[in-house]
């Protein structure tokens, strides 16, 4: 099998496609099912790959472009696999006023990916979210499950480094463990 770009499928993509095909069978071929289908796939796999959208279009007998158009209209759908440490930058009113966009831009620049995408090593992905619920700490960014308040551009690099260092340490420990 090939993916939408004509490249051979990775094992991971193949597994996703097989699972999606199985799930699709449970849905009638009605266009009203488009969004529930996309939500189910996103909930199970975390994102919608191009080959998956093709499969959905096929199932519903819709032009692939229309499936793509609907999927890209909604912020809730992602088109890249989420990173191990998803970064959510708050763009709620309070955070916006306190310069949330500058924080977002800093993450984008430091990780060299635009919002909505994932770093090639799958370590980080960036998302913008609306109010996280701690406006008093604005501007706010979450790295994984941890909320970081009073964000400043100067803190961005530190946060990324922390994650990378923690990961390296974990890997080293695992290796030491295996060696001993």
């Amino acid at each position: 099998m090939e993916n939408a770009a004509g490249e051979a499928l990775t094992a991971e993509e193949g597994a996703i496609l097989a699972d999606v095909a199985r799930r699709l069978a449970a849905f009638d071929r009605e266009r009203a099912n488009l969004i529930p289908i996309l939500q189910t796939i996103q909930n199970t796999h975390g994102y919608l790959a191009p080959a998956v959208l093709q499969l959905v279009a096929r199932h519903l007998r819709l032009p692939p472009s229309q499936v793509y158009g609907v999927a890209t209209f909604y912020n809730q759908f992602r088109f890249h696999p989420p990173g191990r440490n998803p970064i959510r930058v708050c763009m709620g009113t309070a955070c916006h006023v306190r310069g949330g966009d500058i924080i977002l831009e800093n993450f984008e620049r430091k990780l060299e990916i635009p919002e909505g995408q994932t770093t090639p090593d799958r370590e980080f992905s960036i998302e913008r979210v609306a109010c996280v619920g701690c406006c008093a700490l604005a501007p706010v960014a979450c790295v994984g499950e941890t909320v970081h308040g009073h964000m400043a551009p100067s803190k961005v690099e530190g946060l990324i480094l922390q994650v990378r260092i923690a990961r390296e340490r974990a890997e080293r420990e695992k290796k030491d463990h295996a060696d001993s």
């Binding site: 071929r29 093709q54 819709l62 692939p64 158009g69 209209f73 909604y74």
Partner: protein, 231 residues
């Protein structure tokens, strides 16, 4: 036939005709980008075709009006021009303008600019041309989203001719782009017919036929009807 008056000129027209089409046919130009006679519903997205109709409190888009007997229309009042100029400013503030654009000299935007006596880079808006890559993946044409004015004509042309559109608007708000995602030429249910109706109708050359598009004869049967396809 009924009588209407546009800018002092009396016209005889069939009752219920579209006001914008009527004026254009009579040689009275009203700026417009998104009107398509073949389309069942006016899109009314470009917000350029404003006119004032006597008895109505505010300017209206001519493409959404059916003429009625005795209608008196003004196409160039100050309120009309104000609306048109704002819409045009917004449009070109995000429009890519390059010296090698194939639409140069016959672009609908240039025609609108001349009519409104505005430049293509009008003040005071900042210019934020969108940096969007040319999509060369479609079989018969290339897509230049940075030129697109989002008039939707290509979608409707494909829809009218082939039963469903292979082009789409993707994303949302200021991010909206024209997209040919998943468009294929490989004999699936939804295959590009190569009719190039989209390229023909695009007012700004955002869809350009491929140099070797000779084989795109466009004699297809239209796309599968998703409804008739059943389950």
């Amino acid at each position: 036939m009924i009588r209407i008056e546009v800018d002092g000129t009396p016209l005889e027209v069939a009752e219920g005709s579209n006001l914008l089409a009527t004026c254009l046919a009579a040689g009275i130009y009203i700026p417009n980008l998104c009107y398509m006679a073949e389309s069942p519903e006016p899109f009314a997205g470009c917000r350029l075709c404003f006119v004032e109709i006597q008895g109505q409190p505010a300017p209206v888009t001519a493409c959404t009006v059916a003429v009625t007997d005795g209608m008196v229309v003004h196409t160039a009042t100050a309120p009309v021009r104000r609306l048109q100029q704002s819409a045009f400013r917004l449009l070109v503030s995000a429009h890519q303008i390059t010296a090698d654009c194939p639409a140069h000299k016959r672009c609908a935007l240039q025609q609108v600019a001349r009519h409104l006596q505005m430049g293509l880079k009008p003040k005071p808006l900042e210019r934020v041309p969108r940096e969007l890559e040319i999509d060369t993946s479609p079989p018969c044409f290339d897509l230049h989203p940075a030129r697109c004015v989002l008039c939707g004509k290509c979608l409707r042309a494909c829809q009218e001719r082939n039963g469903s559109s292979l082009l789409t608007f993707a994303r949302r708000g200021i991010q909206t782009v024209i997209s040919a995602q998943g468009l294929s030429a490989d004999g699936q249910e939804f295959t590009c017919e190569g009719c190039l109706a989209c390229a023909a109708v695009c007012p700004v050359s955002a869809i350009t036929p491929k140099a070797d598009s000779g084989h795109c004869a466009g004699e297809g049967q239209g796309h599968a009807d998703p409804q008739a396809a059943g389950s």
